[in-house]
Symmetry: C2
Subunit: 538 residues, 2 copies
Amino acid sequence: MDIEEFRKAGYRAVDRICDYYASLSERPVLAQVKPGYLTSALPHEAPQKGESMDVIANDFQTLILPGITHWQHPSFFAYFPSNATFPGMLADIYASSVTNPGFNWMCSPACTELESVVMDWAANLLGLSSSFHVASGVGGGAIQSSASDSALVAVIAARARFLIAHPDVPAEKLVIYLSTQTHSLGTKTAAILNIPFRALPVMPEDAFSLRGDRLRDAYEEDRNAGKWPFVLIATVGSTSSGAVDALEELGPITKDFPDFWLHVDAAWAGVSFSCPEYREQGRLKEINAFADSCCVNFHKWGLVNFDASTLWLRDRRHLTEALDVSPYYLRNKHSDEGTLQFRDNFSSDFPSRLQFFYYILELIGTVIDYRHWQVALGRRFRSIKLWFVLRSYGVEGFQNHIRKCVRLGTLFHDLLSTSSIFEVVTPRSLALTVFRLIIPDAGADASSPPPASLARPIDLQTLNELNMELHHRLTEGSGPGGEDDKLFLTRTDLNGKVCIRLVVGAERTQEEHVQRAFDILCKVGKVLLNDVTPIREP
Amino acid sequence: MDIEEFRKAGYRAVDRICDYYASLSERPVLAQVKPGYLTSALPHEAPQKGESMDVIANDFQTLILPGITHWQHPSFFAYFPSNATFPGMLADIYASSVTNPGFNWMCSPACTELESVVMDWAANLLGLSSSFHVASGVGGGAIQSSASDSALVAVIAARARFLIAHPDVPAEKLVIYLSTQTHSLGTKTAAILNIPFRALPVMPEDAFSLRGDRLRDAYEEDRNAGKWPFVLIATVGSTSSGAVDALEELGPITKDFPDFWLHVDAAWAGVSFSCPEYREQGRLKEINAFADSCCVNFHKWGLVNFDASTLWLRDRRHLTEALDVSPYYLRNKHSDEGTLQFRDNFSSDFPSRLQFFYYILELIGTVIDYRHWQVALGRRFRSIKLWFVLRSYGVEGFQNHIRKCVRLGTLFHDLLSTSSIFEVVTPRSLALTVFRLIIPDAGADASSPPPASLARPIDLQTLNELNMELHHRLTEGSGPGGEDDKLFLTRTDLNGKVCIRLVVGAERTQEEHVQRAFDILCKVGKVLLNDVTPIREP
């Protein structure tokens, strides 16, 4: 493929993306395919002879697009958002054109330096303390692929700090603390590192946020049993219900425990800190005061194409010293009799005095080698996405997006609160509402809805089955309007209560989409309630 | 930014990429900037108001491009290649337009299914045994971000298999085996997992490949000391010299050890298996017979833009069961009194009967949920790059690229072999030659070069300093021709011997670029030898 063929194919790709976004709202949100649809449509081997890009690109349209669930759809309210934006796509194009593995400064100086700069831009945008800025020379941030990667490396840093401070503690005595609402990243980190975890319980009356006394009690119990809890993965904006752990209680307590690390996972909610009015409910002040590390996923609600999980550390050396394998060689007693050199794709070799000069700068903490901040050696040029997005939207544009979503999420919450057949299960968290279908008082109808508190008591199991059935009808389009009544939402379970979540986050979502979602819910819900009359009239 | 603004900016991006590639060979390979160049050129905060994409894209041209080291340059011979191709870039554009986190089938069915299909295409291309194919229902592959990620998850799977088979072995008795030539991914995996490693020695007379007796001796010694080696990370094509470990010896030995895992890192050399004539030297037959897992980076020499590290496993369940945290919850004794649910962004909730059907398929092994194959939950749509590249080049085009690079690497090797001032240090490995400057016999000149074996013996330290100086002059352009004599190569150290590496791998490299590199080496090398006359005439 020569340059002119690429130009033609590139223009066509841009045109097709334009067509895609122009037609997006008319597509169904959820891919309308069955498992195996693509596997059976494709040959078992690559072709012997090269094919033309026209043919390949047409297959993208006819084979791939039908199997895509449209996360950018204005009626996408499931999971959490995963924003893609035009500036983010353009950044990806430019980054892709200068592909390089970016493992050290020399590899491509722009990659390292831009990442340091935009991580400070992002810290500023969110109001993170200057301790977390790269420019502080002590703290700093890096872009990871996901909140799971961020949590993993944060716990590795925490473990290194703890074991260095407590060389006599056997590693098998370590325990990771989570709450029962922590995302799977907590248990996955524990599984990867083969360290036991303890999931601290949370209560509905605390809106599922972790309280300080739970932490203190567990810690005392574990210490008495000879165990060493060394890190808490706290959450600001939990996956199930958007709960915010009580950092104002947890933070000071963590400081009472020796070398105990506080990691705050604000993957979804963290971008709301761009608006000062949401900082208090998200406990930004406490993050700034107490967190050792903090993660925010700009690739969720933050307008940056997946992947861009920003991780900040208060003292970056805990991480870089844990993951820099050159001193690790020196520490390890198993390095055998052979000549053991440091083979980091030569990143430790200094091909020139310039790079040696750079190495000195690194030692004194004025520059960064991002290979020591992550699992992999090589890395993609991701900072350019953050740079393009923050410049193209500006702080104000970014804030407008967040505020619009919270406003629409509030609209949905308020609509739902007026309904007699639904109840809001936990307090609205930003743009997320968690609710369930209930069986209203027998006399109730839409024209005179009774307050939710009058809803007839009914056993939990029945309500759970009812909500599972509602969710099924919405997803499958088996409501009265068929396909028109399809709605892709996520189900969750809060201490045994089956609920449904609706979160606003897509860039193109407007009031009409939220209103339509509410209307469908009411319509399908009412038909379902009629279908289960035997329950209603015992 | 609306659709028409995106179209305009997209066309412009494509045009600029075309300009970039048209002018690439006239640019210097190495970025001509000093540390801090970009940091000092950019503001400390994101702008309040959004900026136009014209301004942003212009800054890419004027600020970013000068700080890029051009890995696609036809004269890039350093490290290992990191190919970017037009089909790969186009795939990235399309993938970026439908951004989604792809953590399960429902998320976007096309992402999961295409990955399964192209992993089998790639396995077929490389001649991997059908045991490694997804279609086998037992083995299979996934795209990871890097060879370090691949090694990490392979060792996690190995650890899980071993500890399940040996529940009485304490985890702190485990040992990871590497060789002294294993890439830093080995020691980094050990650092992450906090498991000791032992780096087995390799010898120059074996061309730095790991031999079987070293493994057997170490294993016996460690077992006698009560330790449990459970995995060997072997290498096909080492970073320093392209060495291939003696899998024909190692493979059978690993089968003598209980539940011992063989991971083969063929990150660079693996793509050469696409050509049948390179399979024997790369020990493909032994990989197929003995390896439990195997990694090949298509993003190095394999024409796919970073990142695309393909990892295959002979039995995928060892990995998916180790990283699926739902059973982990059940196994863990620390899950406390609270209601602990599985919160994997709801990926375990089945929003519909369709997804439940899919879950059943997964249980019986006919479909894949890639979130259990990696550290992160979310993942990018990377399979499309592999799909576009393999279709656009076809098997023949892919083979032509590999063969051309080996031919040019051989050309360089043969040119160097005729020179009196250089010696080849290890046997050429595919397109990689490792060499050093030597001090020829006093009477030698270019017109009557003596064989390298006649080179005057000189102490190692002096030769090492000479080669470091040569490398410095090449990198800095301080040879006789100044900037014209710049050459970006990587230095390495083989059991104490400082060497220089030249590897051919860029798509645009032609004979003239290799010839020019050789000419520069001769010119700068001769001047350097003249400068050190005191050494030559004691």
